[in-house]
């Protein structure tokens, strides 16, 4: 199957979608930045979403969940600057956001998906949204995905947007998405929001299933403990304008759709990791030849989430003990005596551990490899056939600075 990335692709790349983002001054200290996003489809879409597993949740999630009970949505409204979580009036305000968007777009408020990201436990100021919703609705365009991507950023330093295209039943199908999330050093931390649009024809049930499959090997692999902020939301809308036969079961078309969606989600997930708070380097941990997929994933996540591994990558220190130690406490089923560890980058690979034991290697070459901006840590378990990849970044002074003074 041939899946292609679209240059400058975004959530508005599929037919029928418009989007925009404006500065509503929700966060007083950030008055110059876009902080309110809108995504709209010219017709109701089949839709699905998955959410954080944290027990502490924003009320926006409760509202979105309710609105998606019928599997239909037509718009997304999202703000940055305030998470609307742990507030007494959170539910009321999340519903109000949907009503405002519905009014401005002349659609049913039950067809609106709502999401928020930012500081927790401080009341969301609703006036900035009331005052700017019409301007926002009037500004949406078929190439406005990029403004929406900007409006959902918090500590992100770059916008995350991408789109892929492929053929289905002789029709060209496009899937595009935007994402935000930057507190990914230790996942528990940062809200991840991602909104995906497609012109494929897919039932809401199959959309949900495809979304779970794609997230499992993409967004969920940027995290240590799964989706655990209070606000994480990954939503998808499919409007059917591509004209393919509707996907209503797990047939070959479904598989093709999942493959394309997975490629898109992996791309966005890697961008999240690379732009982790304070990140200087993008790190992939590849675990090969594990007994089971669960073991491979568990080890990849543990290694990528280890503060010691992250700090060693920051310092370009080819310490194999840090990797072995993380594998050892991952709780997964491994035979320590079979583990090989490599570091890889554009400067080549280097073996630092063989059969669970440290080996002699060129410190000079290792340093050269680890000074690159993209590093792969390969853990060969030599004990089965399952593989997994997890995505992360290094731990830097800048991460500490950002999170030492997040609210101000």
């Amino acid at each position: 199957m041939d899946i292609k990335f679209i240059e400058n692709g975004s959530v508005t790349s599929p037919q029928g979608f418009k989007a925009g983002g404006v500065c509503a001054s929700i966060k007083p200290s950030n008055t110059a930045k876009r902080d309110l996003a809108l995504i709209y489809c010219e017709k109701p879409c089949s839709a699905a979403a998955i959410f954080t597993k944290n027990l502490v949740k924003t009320d926006a999630i409760a509202v979105t969940r309710k609105h998606l009970e019928n599997g239909v949505a037509q718009a997304v409204i999202a703000n940055s600057g305030n998470a609307n979580a742990c507030n007494a009036d959170g539910l009321e305000k999340a519903e109000r956001m949907c009503a405002l968007a519905a009014d401005a777009l002349n659609i049913d408020e039950n067809d609106v998906i709502v999401a928020s990201t930012g500081v927790i436990g401080q009341p969301l100021p609703i006036e900035p949204i009331e005052n700017n919703i019409n301007r926002l609705a009037g500004s949406i365009t078929a190439d406005g995905g990029t403004n929406a991507a900007e409006a959902i950023m918090t500590t992100d330093t770059v916008k995350k947007e991408a789109a892929v295209t492929f053929e289905l039943d002789g029709k060209t199908v496009t899937i595009g998405g935007i994402a935000k999330g930057s507190g990914m050093i230790h996942i528990n931390m940062g809200t991840m929001l991602s909104f995906i649009a497609t012109d494929a024809s897919v039932s809401s049930e199959m959309l949900k299933s495809a979304l779970l499959e794609a997230a499992d090997v993409s967004y969920n692999m940027v995290t240590v403990d799964g989706d655990t902020s209070t606000n994480d939301t990954l939503a998808i809308m499919a409007n059917g304008l591509a004209g393919n036969a509707e996907i209503t079961e797990k047939n070959d078309s479904y598989k093709a759709f999942v493959a394309a969606l997975t490629l898109l989600c992996k791309d966005l997930a890697k961008r999240l990791a690379a732009d982790g708070e304070g990140a200087g380097k993008f790190i992939i941990c590849s675990v090969n030849n594990a007994k089971t997929e669960k073991d491979a994933k568990g080890i990849a996540k543990t290694v990528i989430g280890s503060s010691l591994v992250k700090a060693a990558m920051f310092g370009a220190d080819a310490n194999c003990g840090r990797i072995l130690c993380a594998v050892g406490y991952s709780g997964m089923d491994v035979d320590v005596k079979k583990i090989d560890v490599y570091y890889k980058s554009a400067k080549g690979p280097i073996l630092v551990c063989k059969n669970g034991l440290g080996v002699q290697f060129s410190e000079e070459l290792a340093k050269e490899i680890l000074l690159e901006n993209e590093i792969e840590i390969t853990v060969e378990l030599n004990d089965g056939e399952a593989c997994a990849e997890a995505y992360g970044c290094d731990l830097t002074y800048e991460y500490v600075r950002i999170n030492g003074d997040y609210r101000t």
Copy 2:
């Protein structure tokens, strides 16, 4: 029961123990520091130890475990500068260290406990130990615990030693200990070593049981994932010189001994947390009125281990969202709507969350409270009677610096 701390107490405070520490230059770049420690008792002791749960283990643990099978030990040899882990010749060298100590002290090599801490995956140079063992054995004294405490330090900035005394059967019993461990920001990282000596008369079986009870609420509460470095070792030796009736069952004397041992271990554990790598502040998380002790402990450990909470403490940022978020992803059984959160320090307490919702508070007072060096985060669950405390520190630039370049 009256348990008193002894001023300048150490592992040599109980009768019959001598200790010392010398510079053997095991780590070439650290030639000026003590790096080889010896603890000796004039007679064989009943003894017990508990170890890391990491699958990747130093061979020193295998040797110590074998030597303690009969519940008897008479000396401890420990080095810093090299963990003797993940090396092909680790077992041989750990055994050699015991033989060297036994020869120098004229005791049975099976009665020697061995431990190492430092870099993983690089062969332990044995010559420095061979060359210095006699000088070390000749230097041990009844007030040499402090030199041993110094010799086991790695990135620790202060020595950790303490001793407590209490009455048992009309006899004065003393328990003293030393500890090291500084990579405690995220526990998985730093080797924790602690050696405890007592002149109480206690069977090795009861010693093991007492040690497990004490560690469970002390050393294990400085950690996020339990004992997970490759080398963690907590060992205790009891020589019976105090003259109490031997403790061989869980009677009142056992309970008194556990209470005193727990007090000592909590004191040493707090010192480990306060001296966490790069730490600027000591943080306690107290969880009150949980449904079960498991829930209380799980939440306390999750909060204290959260990088976001740690970074917020570094920045004196009274962010209640960080605490609620950590409680929410702890995996424990909580009713979010009942949670209250306070920050406390010498400057007073401040309520930042009531019934799971953020409350208005004085940012000025909050800042003043969080700028202190000892902070307590109190999580009131209002949902039961179980309580727990966990110990940690803030996440600082210095932590990143230390771990970015650990090996050099």
